[in-house]
Symmetry: none
Subunit: 405 residues, 2 copies
Amino acid sequence: MDQLDFIRSLAEVKDSKILLLVLDGLGGLATEPGGKTELETARTPNLDSLARESSCGLMELVAPGITPGSGPGHLALFGYDPITYIIQRGALEAAGIDFPQQPGDVATRANFCTIDAAGNITDRRAGRIPTEESAPLCALLQREIKLEGVELFVQPVQEHRAVVVFRGKGLGDQVHDTDPQQTGIPPLPPRVSSDDPASKRTAEFAAKFLGRVREVLRGKHPKANMMMLRGFSLRPHLPQFGDVYKLKAAAEATYPMYRGLARLVGMEILTPRATFAECMEEVAANWAKFDFFFLHYKYTDSRGEDGNFAKKVEAVETVDAEVPKLLALKPDVLAVTGDHSTPSKLASHSWHPVPVLVRSPYVRADGLTKFGESACVRGSLGHFPGVQLMPLLLANALRLAKYGA
Amino acid sequence: MDQLDFIRSLAEVKDSKILLLVLDGLGGLATEPGGKTELETARTPNLDSLARESSCGLMELVAPGITPGSGPGHLALFGYDPITYIIQRGALEAAGIDFPQQPGDVATRANFCTIDAAGNITDRRAGRIPTEESAPLCALLQREIKLEGVELFVQPVQEHRAVVVFRGKGLGDQVHDTDPQQTGIPPLPPRVSSDDPASKRTAEFAAKFLGRVREVLRGKHPKANMMMLRGFSLRPHLPQFGDVYKLKAAAEATYPMYRGLARLVGMEILTPRATFAECMEEVAANWAKFDFFFLHYKYTDSRGEDGNFAKKVEAVETVDAEVPKLLALKPDVLAVTGDHSTPSKLASHSWHPVPVLVRSPYVRADGLTKFGESACVRGSLGHFPGVQLMPLLLANALRLAKYGA
């Protein structure tokens, strides 16, 4: 049986509350053999105190040796096998700008490009046009282009990148990219990759849209005079949190990508706030309304990606300072972990397993004196796949029935 | 998705080098409760020093409780699920004598046997005829038997055992054994086990071959006057190392079986050498030409199989003395482990998990002070399936792309 079906068959509604705090890219590496990681270096009296009262361990979000992207890392945290459940590019881009893709919407990743008078591509990225120039062009296209039978959304992402969404009845997503991945030839027409009539419908709308894009952009910008569409994707069919886990779940995240991912699994999205202290306030203000909170903190990952050990240490300490406010909410179950490692030594996501702590009145407390990668090796949760975290949290919230008589 | 397809989709060519040192049957047992294993008893200053800088753990080559044969143990080390990928007996025997079975070749395990004047089997193993007598008989058969349309190879293994390979166009391997597994009746004729015309072709050649064997052996040996064929097998379809992992791989092994297994997964075979020191020289001489080295040491297993604790300890120490030469090659990733345990207390392969260390600039060093079974229980790699070793080595060599955006 599928893991989610199995959990669905056991999940029960209770009034206990679960708080999942994700420090993006939490896991790290020492800069030298025998040294300490960023998390181990950070002064974290509150997380350390939590670790003492928690069951701890190390999680593999995808599998040993595999470096998770943000999508797979979070799907695993949410309990969805990240190899079975795939979010295609268009849907991921839409999620990434917090665009609420509805069932039936076809989302695409769009690139502004440059074509010459003959219609051949001379620059696939329109000279990496700055966002300040691409955003108004998106607004122009949104305003000027109307197509009978379909609603259009043209939204900027960054530089030459945008999201175009087609909303209408009976649209399919089996449509090839129009980016030929080379210059000197025209963009490809949107062609279907299967016999699916719904996808033919999408391809026809996409062709009309791109024809209008060329007309509308003519003479408006020296480089960005055309668009190409990639990764046509319907909203992925992800089982929904409320249905599977019987949880009323909310997400608080400063960065749009994480709100987007949370929305795809059916969480409600709280007002995004800029600082972690403000995010905490938002969670506190909504505490009575939900029984599961996904609270996402981005800067541990950002500083790791920058290769800045000291700043990643600081980012961890920023979160640690807010932990007492988390505890003041009295969650029945509190988990602190990451969606992957981002060691500043690698300045990128990495494959290293992520430390995790789970605290509830029903854990076997490990008595560790420090929340860190090395300490968690000795934790009683052991070394386990990320998709097993959600059942563990539900169990600790006394929300999973006994299996079998 | 199949694990190998998944890894193939992420593997990238880089210039990093990986060295996998396999001490056959490395894992052991203490002779008394609370005592030390062979590895723990051995004086291994170099392996201990490596363990300090490495991530360590314990591997299950097949699954807990399962005792791996050499084939499954090595397939797991090479990243192939040993329950999915099976090497049939004929192909394994061919690999075991280092016979380079080509695609299309049908290999069989052949036994010399004794038949009486009526053609009935009186001894299925020809009195376990010594190799000194069976080898010349194989040479005689090889010399005397020619069949139109197929090339034949008759090669001795040991005692009454030999390998017979049929090489020709359009041969299949769905052919039943000719050994009836009892005496008092004649050997069975080669019969096909499916409607496959290619297998019928093989059965016809096998029948002609066995007819000639009986004629040629008549009066040549008091006991070995006939042969029976078992385990007809085409070369197994194993995904190839170069294709899956994007690695140019080489194998150095004193014993033919391990060269054979390495060849089946597409490794190039270096010149076999007798001592471990010489094997090291061979690896060093070829260091520039490859980016993955499988270096196999047999005697830890042999001494374990002999039930000789002290000699197994010595075998480990022999390898330890050469470790500085390994390090002098400066592999980016170095792993030391076994293909299964062979405790001298059991004088056989066993199911016990095998200690493993992985050293690279990107591991979380566990700081263990000893490389041994008990110490590895506390290692950060935890307790993991053998097939996960290869992805971990590739990750540490920075040869695996991020999964998902």
